[in-house]
């Protein structure tokens, strides 16, 4: 018999029972936020069901919160519907004794930044959240998946999820990346290679020298975008970097418990003879700084490339989508993508708002500043740290001063302009260099045009005033 994959091992360790051909899978950590939970709590109330494990549940306020004036409290949130949703969460967590980091608390921030930062996210766990980017936590070798609101209610009531097992897909990235190329470029290149439905029905394990070389922040960026390749979950096997990251975090085990946990975590590796249903192999050296040109995360090109022609696509469906995308994005087939003039730069989101992301963007801004260059006059640029703690650390390192001197707005934590549910959004027709995860039509604001890229690329675009190869901006 062949060995087990990392996914197989986590799955097997969490099956409570089988019912009607579905597994009842135990959930170790349930992260919740204001947008996808009100109907779930209402359902529990209506049925008179309690929350089974409030201690395995953690709540944050992130999607709706403004990124300015958070000290004024939820009562001051101008958007009435957003305010009601935030207040509903406050009431629900209080009624059910769930730990909650409210808006303005230094521990609050984007749910997928907070979980790892607090040490709540641990290897070998099952983690769910009513948010598709829950895949992020897979960076720690945890099976982490986005779920719908009915499933949120199910997990609150039973601490389990009913599910059938997915397939195993391994994406290996060999080699060493060139300068200016990192996790975001890997992630976009992978989505480009397998398509937005390429991982549907699968859990992706990322492996290879280039993945091992990534920091924990980089691995989170990579796993964050697993869902953009259609996979509900992405995984990176835990290693010394994982354990070093976790040590000393508030919810990480301490002392003798740490040693016991460590021994447990180390077992979560794919066996050498494990068989994957599908394998995809890329070489890091072939990946350039990457940007999206269209309205699907699979619409990627190297920053040195030209916008593709709709005729170059294989199927009528794809040709029609490409035509529509070019029209929406206001681009012409054949134009160099680096010509595209931008109006807005957004550095933030659960994809790229961690300390390393901010450092890499700040490095570009500082280098430009020392050469007498600031954010281009026609560009509105903002940096939104992923949590209060990331913000604090960045300020201790002086990164806020670099951004502000360079002409960026320095904001308070939240999902911000990634999804336009709060005051930060694009106006119709505005073109944005964004470190977020989705370039869908209207995602960042109705009529807004999103180009996904790495934090360093977005910083360089802010200064150039158009999409530009970050390699021209490196010290």
């Amino acid at each position: 018999m062949s060995g087990k994959t990392l996914y197989d091992k986590i799955w097997d360790a969490h099956v409570v029972a089988e019912q009607d051909g579905e597994a009842i899978l135990y959930i170790d950590l349930h992260l919740i936020h204001e947008v996808t939970t009100p109907q779930a709590f209402a359902g529990l109330r209506a049925a008179g069901r309690p929350v089974r494990r409030p201690d395995r549940t953690l709540a944050v306020a992130d999607h709706n919160v403004p990124t300015q004036g958070q000290e004024l409290g939820v009562g001051a949130v101008a958007d009435e519907e957003a305010r009601l949703q935030l207040q509903t969460l406050e009431r629900n967590v209080k009624d059910n004794r769930i730990e909650f980091f409210p808006m303005g608390d230094i521990r609050n921030g984007i749910v997928h930044v907070v979980g790892p930062e607090q040490g709540r996210t641990q290897p070998g766990m099952t983690i769910v959240c009513g948010d598709s980017h829950t895949s992020t936590h897979g960076a720690f070798g945890a099976l982490a998946q986005g779920i719908g609101t009915s499933e949120v209610e199910h997990v609150l009531a039973t601490q389990t999820l009913r599910q059938k097992k997915s397939k195993n897909l391994r994406v290996t990235v060999n080699g060493t990346p060139g300068p200016g190329v990192g996790a975001k470029d890997f992630a976009l290149a992978i989505v480009g290679a397998i398509g937005t439905a390429g991982g549907t029905g699968s859990v992706i394990e990322y492996a290879g020298e280039a993945i091992a070389g990534l920091s924990m922040e980089g691995r989170m960026t990579l796993c964050n975008l697993a869902i953009e390749a259609g996979a509900r979950a992405g995984l990176v096997a835990p290693d010394q970097k994982t354990f070093d990251y976790m040590m000393g975090r508030p919810a990480a085990p301490k002392g003798a418990s740490w040693e016991m946990a460590l021994a447990h975590w180390k077992t979560f590796q794919s066996d050498p003879d494990a068989v994957f249903d599908r394998e995809v192999v890329l070489d890091a050296a072939d990946i350039a700084p990457t940007v999206t040109w269209g309205t699907s995360p699979e619409d990627v090109i190297p920053v040195t490339g030209n916008v593709p022609a709709p005729e170059s696509f294989a199927t009528p469906d794809k040709r029609a989508s490409a035509e529509r995308a070019l029209d929406y994005m206001g681009l012409t087939a054949g134009q160099p993508i680096a010509d595209a003039k931008i109006d807005v730069v957004f550095i933030g989101s659960c994809t790229n708002s961690r300390i390393e992301d901010l450092r890499s963007a700040a490095q570009v801004v500082q280098h430009a500043f020392l050469n007498g260059r600031l954010v281009a006059p026609h560009v509105r640029a903002m940096v939104v740290p992923g949590s209060g703690l990331v913000k604090e650390q960045a300020e201790e390192e002086g990164l806020d001063a670099i951004f502000k001197a360079g002409g960026f707005d320095w904001r308070e934590p939240g999902c911000s302009m990634c999804l336009g549910m709060n005051p930060d959004r694009l106006a119709p027709g505005e073109r944005c260099a964004s470190t977020s995860n989705r370039n869908f039509e209207g995602r960042q604001g109705r009529g807004g045009r999103t180009h996904l890229m790495s934090p360093a690329m977005a910083a360089a675009a802010a200064i150039a005033g158009h999409i530009v190869d970050v390699r021209e901006f490196l010290p």
Binding site: R162, K164, T200, G230, G442, G447
Partner: protein, 203 residues
Amino acid sequence: MKAFTKLDARMAPLAMANIDTDQIIPKQFLKTVEREGLGKGLFYDFRFDEQGREKPDFVLNRPEYKGAGVLVAGDNFGCGSSREHAPWALLDFGISCVISSSFADIFYNNCFQNGLLPVVLKPEEVQALMEEAKGGNHLVTVDLEAQTVVAPSGAAFSFQIDPQRKAKMLQGLDAIGETLTAAKDIDVYETKRALSEPWLEGA
């Protein structure tokens, strides 16, 4: 959850691939604490222009497709955000079946929690239905028991569906109630885990 058994309804064609849940229900409609009333936001940016006027060309605004109960759409329907507001909006609008050659995982799963039937047909079958939907007769029959879609022309296509999901859909069963019948197993699992992974207790 409402049961789904058999549906005779108008079918509307939406010949686009990768229709994401941001398009199905844009973010401004997610700030609700209710499940009901989301039909007004369904495909909002397709249905209305920037001034909020109906776009007469969009399929669901055309008189021949008014009251459509079935949507036939391109590949990878429902990709993107996990928002269950997407199936809620479709149902509230009156659409209780979507036919496509493939669906994104989370959306597909969310459909079964709500009595919205996602039907997977072969790409050429979806194409054939799409063509028929553009003709003069738009009435289709979707029969979950028989696992068939009968096109306006009378052509019948059969589809595959997981038998357990089918059974629950036919009866409109609640998953939580079913899982709680295994509450003892969950208790046992938790007791064992408290011993093997004690650091996860009392956090």
